[in-house]
């Protein structure tokens, strides 16, 4: 009974906590709400008229939504890079970062699910996918696998931080016997969600651009570069806007992860480019379209030729210790790396898969404004969710939120 009362009190306290804050905080939240509202309005138009209001058509049947979904699965999976050293290897450096990382994973997963729902032709019959009531094509369909792993990962990433925060809220230590097995599971699961999402594309013999054994590993490498890069940026922002202390050492360690992942990602990119362009076959046409355009159709050129130089520049800069340890350079690198991978793993991956079509037809894809606003709305929703989660967990970790005003534990202040 005591536990239930404590939980109710925590929910009430955190609701109060997230609705109060500085002026900057309020402006930030209002800004996100406005974007979300515009996104919702655009989504209502889409619901009303159908997906014809997007730039997608029978030739290019997946676009901006699925691109963002694919990329965000990677961001969600990247939280594992922080979980592993903290909980499993007991590296205390990451302790503060890990709650932020898991909050980021939750927000990314919420966005993933929202993007999938936005892409559906019939959101009102989505219950067909719920095992038990609906029919689930398991294990044949990779999309069915993806639904399971994404929801499972969401569950894990909500429960672990919730348990830890709840214990801290009550002024008790979180028992490692309970959360460490969960953390180990989430480590394996994170690799799983990204691999399964890659298999979603990799398994299609109809699309040679995706039907490529390197797709899965490359997904992982790029995710472990882009995800922690975003975490570094978020930690930098938190350091600036709250009293939450994040040590330089923590950021440097995450930067190391970003660097290694970005280097591996670059090696794989070279391997992919070599295969496509050294002995080009019929199956290299999508890559040709992406990098050089086909028959005068060049819509993706500006994107990919932004992404590749940014990717290389960031990787090279990060490789030098001196540059990486300069935080201004580090933040800059993380930002451009994030943008580069967003382009490459989103647009640059999904759209060329459909171009040229099964019979060689080249029909280009340009997202419409409605599509772009819905996308922005979902990103705003992600940021909104993350801000609330981060604010609450920071509040609890700093001891501002306490059940019956119990004192802060010594281990937390250390």
């Amino acid at each position: 009974m005591e536990t239930v009362r404590a939980f109710r009190s925590m929910v009430k306290d955190s609701l109060g906590y997230i609705t109060h804050g500085s002026k900057t905080y309020h402006i930030w939240m209002i800004f996100l709400t406005v974007i979300m509202l515009i996104g919702m309005y655009c989504y209502s138009i889409q619901l009303d008229e159908g997906l014809s209001v997007t730039g997608m058509n029978d030739r290019v049947s997946w676009g901006l939504y699925i691109s963002n979904f694919t990329f965000l699965v990677g961001v969600a999976a990247a939280a594992v890079m922080l979980v592993m050293p903290t909980y499993v290897l007991k590296d205390i450096d990451f302790k503060q970062a890990v709650l932020i990382g898991e909050g980021l994973a939750v927000a990314a997963l919420v966005m993933c699910l929202a993007f999938v729902v936005a892409d559906m032709g019939g959101p009102s019959v989505l219950w067909h996918m719920i095992p038990g009531i609906g029919v689930f094509n398991f294990p044949n369909s990779m999309l069915a696998w993806d639904v399971i792993v994404l929801n499972g990962y969401l569950f894990i990433n909500i429960t672990i931080p919730l348990y830890i925060l709840f214990r801290h809220y009550q002024g008790k230590e979180a028992k490692s016997k309970i959360y460490v097995p969960g953390s180990i599971l989430s480590v394996l699961w994170a690799v799983g969600i990204h691999l399964v999402t890659a298999f979603l594309y990799e398994g299609l013999q109809a699309r040679p651009f995706w039907n490529n054994a390197l797709l899965g590993p490359r997904f992982l490498a790029s995710a472990f570069a882009a995800g922690p890069a975003l975490i570094i940026l978020v930690l930098a922002a938190i350091r600036k806007f709250s009293e939450f202390k994040i040590e330089n050492k923590t950021i440097s360690k995450i930067a190391m992860i970003v660097t290694v992942a970005a280097q591996i990602n670059l090696i794989m990119l070279v391997s992919e480019l070599f295969k496509e362009f050294y002995a080009p076959t019929h199956h290299s046409e999508s890559a040709y379209y992406l990098f050089f355009g086909l028959e005068g159709k060049t819509a993706l050129l500006p994107w990919i030729w932004t992404a590749i130089p940014l990717n290389i520049l960031a990787t090279v800069l990060l490789t030098f210790h001196k540059l990486r340890n300069n935080f201004k350079v580090l933040y800059f690198c993380c930002f451009i790396l994030f943008v580069a991978i967003w382009i490459e793993k989103g647009f640059g991956l999904i759209v060329p898969g459909f171009i040229p079509g099964p019979y060689g037809k080249i029909a280009e894809y340009t997202p419409t404004w409605i599509e772009i606003w819905v996308t922005l709305g979902i990103w705003a929703m992600g940021a909104f969710v993350f801000t609330m989660l981060a604010k609450t967990s920071i509040g609890i970790e700093l001891g501002k939120l306490r059940y019956k005003k119990k004192k802060v534990l010594e281990s937390e202040t250390a």
Partner: protein, 384 residues
């Protein structure tokens, strides 16, 4: 051929032992009882190439004759062969529908109708997957859809839920030498299958290719508006190939699309969630999506419908060629075959050794597209 195949292979039943061919009443499988002696040795098919052409010719003239004496709606409904049980079932269903219609048309309060509409919509929204329905449930949803149409449009439609027959496997062959690119098949298909007129959805694409350059799909034009046959070109049609190992079926997360017993790959439009994964998985550009609400002018609606075939679709679901299931399962050729003025399109039962399609497969040099993908299409191309 070993028993364990490393990949999927289309089974036309050619390698199966015919129960009456190998064994005889005496129970022996190898000769010796004497009863085999009288059987004439099997020498493949009895028809020659000339007879084949004549048959195609005849089919064409027959079609035009049918075209002249087209059955009207009344005959379409009543000239259907059926056994006693299904006759009773249909009678009961139509009596119910009829009684409902009379009731509503005589009712003073329009509230009844609205209530019924709401009830039908509710039941339709929460019905199960057609593939897993019992016969009764299938009939019930068909009746609901017919009634719902009646309530909305004040028009009657005929919808069937005919299942696949035994010993039938549909196949299709396309004669590249004959096709002249008239696209009559395309317009017949659009009309027959109630496709969206606004987006000009078409299941069939006719690719116009240059002579002497082979099959270069990427250089072909599949959206031409000039006079055909164009000098120095040949034509090739594509549509859903009804693969025996369809990748689209594998990937569907909710089993809204499946391969029927007679080889047709069909979609339950009401179960589809519109994720378009099947579209990405199809190597043949065989699937179409309803990007907005499909519109067919009331007077152009084909009212002879099948649940899995040409019934009216809604926004946000997949659809595709079903080899005109509403026609093929009642013994007719698909609309494209019937409409083709050149006889380039051959359709039939692959398991019937005397069918035209089997003759083509056994006597012509046939090929299929992208065979290396292991999809085993049931759509062959050949030349004279």
């Amino acid at each position: 051929m070993g028993d364990k195949k490393k990949w999927f292979q289309l089974d036309l039943g050619l390698n199966k032992k015919q129960p009456n061919a190998g064994t005889c009443g005496c129970g022996k499988t190898s000769g010796g009882c004497g009863s085999h002696a009288a059987e004439p040795p099997k020498t493949g098919h009895a028809i020659s190439s000339a007879e084949f052409d004549a048959a195609v010719e005849q089919e064409l003239t027959q079609e035009t004759m049918v075209g002249q004496t087209r059955k009207d709606g009344f005959q379409q409904v009543f000239d259907v062969k059926m056994d006693r049980r299904s006759a009773f079932r249909k009678l009961t269903a139509s009596l119910l529908v009829g009684a409902g219609a009379v009731h509503t048309s005589c009712s003073v309060t329009a509230g009844e109708e609205t209530k019924e509409k709401a009830q039908l919509d509710w039941e339709e929204q929460f019905k199960g997957n057609y593939k897993l329905m019992t016969e009764e449930e299938k009939q019930a949803t068909v009746d609901r859809l017919v009634r719902s149409y009646q309530l909305r449009k004040k028009e009657n439609i005929k919808m069937t839920a005919t299942d696949a027959s035994k010993d039938v496997l549909f196949g299709y062959a396309f004669n590249i030498s004959k096709c002249q690119g008239y696209m009559d098949c395309v317009s017949a298909c659009v009309k027959e299958n109630n496709q969206d007129r606004n987006s000009e959805m078409q299941y069939i694409r006719i690719h116009e290719m240059k002579d002497g350059e082979g099959f270069k799909f990427n250089e072909a034009d599949d959206n031409y508006y000039h006079e055909v046959p164009a000098e120095g070109h040949f034509y090739m049609g594509t549509q859903c190939f009804h693969c025996d190992n369809p990748p689209c079926v594998e990937v569907c997360p909710v089993e809204a699309t499946w391969r029927e017993e007679d080889g047709l790959v069909v979609i339950d439009y009401d179960w589809c969630i519109g994720c378009r994964y099947c579209m990405a998985a199809c190597p043949y550009d065989g699937r179409r999506f309803n990007w907005s609400k499909p519109e067919v002018p009331e007077e152009e609606v084909n009212k002879n419908q099948h649940y899995l075939g040409n019934r009216l679709r809604k926004k946000g679901v997949m659809e595709k060629c079903t080899f005109c299931v509403q026609r093929s399962r009642s013994g007719k050729d698909p609309a494209c075959v019937e409409a083709c003025p050149t006889g380039a399109r051959i359709f039939g039962n692959l398991l019937d050794p005397d069918s035209t399609i089997r003759w083509v497969l056994e006597n012509k040099q046939v090929f299929r597209l992208k065979e290396d993908l292991g999809t085993e299409p049931k759509f062959w191309y050949f030349m004279d």
